[in-house]
Subunit: 414 residues, 2 copies
Amino acid sequence: MDGVIAPSADRVREDLAALARLTDSAQPGWTRTALSEPDVAGRESVLARMREVGLDARIDPAGNVIGVRRGARGGRMLMTGSHTDTVPSGGRFDGMVGVVGALEVVRAFDEAGIRLDHDLVVVDFFGEEPNRFGLSCVGSRALTGVFDTAMLDVLDEEGRSFGDALAAVGIDPATMMASTWPWDRVDAFIELHIEQGPMLEHAGTSIGLVSSITGISRFRALFGGRRDHAGTTGMDRRADAGCAAAGTVLAVERIARSGPDGAKGTTGGVTFTPAAVNVVTEAAEMRGEFRSIDDEWLRTAEETLASCAAEESAGRGVTVEMEWLPQAPRRLDGSVTEMCRRAVDDLGLSRAELFSGAEHDAAFIAARSPTAMLFVPSVGGRSHCPEEWTELDDVIDGIRALAESLRRADAVRR
Amino acid sequence: MDGVIAPSADRVREDLAALARLTDSAQPGWTRTALSEPDVAGRESVLARMREVGLDARIDPAGNVIGVRRGARGGRMLMTGSHTDTVPSGGRFDGMVGVVGALEVVRAFDEAGIRLDHDLVVVDFFGEEPNRFGLSCVGSRALTGVFDTAMLDVLDEEGRSFGDALAAVGIDPATMMASTWPWDRVDAFIELHIEQGPMLEHAGTSIGLVSSITGISRFRALFGGRRDHAGTTGMDRRADAGCAAAGTVLAVERIARSGPDGAKGTTGGVTFTPAAVNVVTEAAEMRGEFRSIDDEWLRTAEETLASCAAEESAGRGVTVEMEWLPQAPRRLDGSVTEMCRRAVDDLGLSRAELFSGAEHDAAFIAARSPTAMLFVPSVGGRSHCPEEWTELDDVIDGIRALAESLRRADAVRR
């Protein structure tokens, strides 16, 4: 039966379930955040599973789990994969579908007797979700040589550095930059992922072909006021950092609402210090972000928010400092996406073109090698919550589309 | 030298310094919050100092440190005192001045050979500042029989109950209501305290006579939204609990600013859950308060805020629940205050009448026995912060006024 790719729903279900069991039981939903014990266990389990399916696998200096299926000709590579870390109280599909799906592609290729010319590289990228230090896509940044080592000194709320937190899970910050890859030998990277939005479900479509990945401008704002007794300090004598932050939270929402189609603005968290009911707030910290595929609008939104924050602060005698961590929108590769489109059509699956409002490791890989992304539907568009769900049939369709796309990419002679 | 009361600045300075040394060294400023180890040590040190100055002293079932100096006639009592717990990162005077001052009055009476007819009762009230369970004036509530035992089941952020937290510092919640006092035998309670505001300093006045203690309406608001992916969930499909809370923070400020003279509104803290930068906030908790000596305005402010919170929530598909813990304004006793006024005048000290924007144990005692309060100036009006300061000369003037006022109250025959 050479050439017929038949992914097994049972195996995929079991692989997803095995990862779901590795969760922080102290939190609702599914929690396997980067830098935590469950994430160490999760990546070890992926390493073991890669070896079971015959890959030459290892964990690289940046925590990425990388397995290689040797090709007939060698030298050139195709790459696929995603991540297995989660947000706190997240779901069982975001990232996992792309890793489990890649493993199933390998098994299905083996069963169908398919040997590619290219080496097929499967990656479980370390730390894709934003960690408590505010950094996302740690593994793919390192692997593409853009990890900012200044981040190693950033402290969490307990005063521990990101570098120390990495060391605690077995990643040596001194050597992690040795995690690089010969990107000039990679002919295509294709990531399978859940949509995390409602478009595919609404349209009744099986596969989303991703044209662009959103740009993201993350920020941290620090408001500095004066602590005073809340009962004796008149409203006109206060420097209330909390009120300045609250006004800025509303500004984030307002700016995004009046942005272009698909623009988003979110405040992820606010902390008041001290958090005592009878003390005027001395300091407030706020973290948030804007997202859009329109880079020019992101710059405008940054400027508008900075001026709103300054206004909310100045009117209250509060100081404000903002730090931005911008990430440009990324157009994916048209030729690889075209191969995916033909693969999806040949399989008789329905498809739609869309952009990704979520960030992905693929945005970093796209800067180095031709990259495409395949989305499968999310029930109710829900994600980053325990309710996150994708039907197994849809996952299987995605795996078939991924396998066929890789075969088409393999067939291109360079 | 019978009858000449001469407080010792050296002893007062040393007593204040001894308390200041008992602080949580992990926090800036001075921190001796109720339910903490330093507070246990602080009250033990007050107990020891009471015994050193010859008081018959004990710690009662509600954690109050109570010392008695027997009077010549017995049966009737005068009471004075304050508290020695602090807010987190607070100062060295709020409360301490009234306890240390009372001890110095006892020593000065002894040195001057003054024996009162009344028993003189000195109290260091347990837990005056709002604790992490949102309850203030715990000891004076228990001592006046108005402690709400439903509070024992309130949980802190770590899921520990107030009752368990009390037990951990040696206060048995089952028996603490046994802390009651024969208030019908108390002819006057006089509390010496720092002003915690700028009025006395601005006017260059030594002593403040307190006419009323502010009413306080504390609240907790819980906003319930929906957690969603911040990159894929459109602005119009969100139920962002954090934005609803931010709008309500601004409403607290707005309502208080438009309130009557002296009205205050403060948000003490806000918590977003989850606090992840790429997740729409599912739940927000907010704690705050309004203060005024105008009880009617407090009711109006409560209603206005409730409707603002409902509006901020409904417009975003968020739910909101509010709990209120109101505390009525309290007028102090005119006849005891009149005795204090004459004492201050006889000492040749300047005086002003003012109301207290801060809450005090005296507000609870005033419901049971005739009560007055004496304020001494706060430098810059600062309080509940490490910068809190009162000049030693002003503390000494306050102690002299307290001693003379107690002598006048002692001279009244009932």
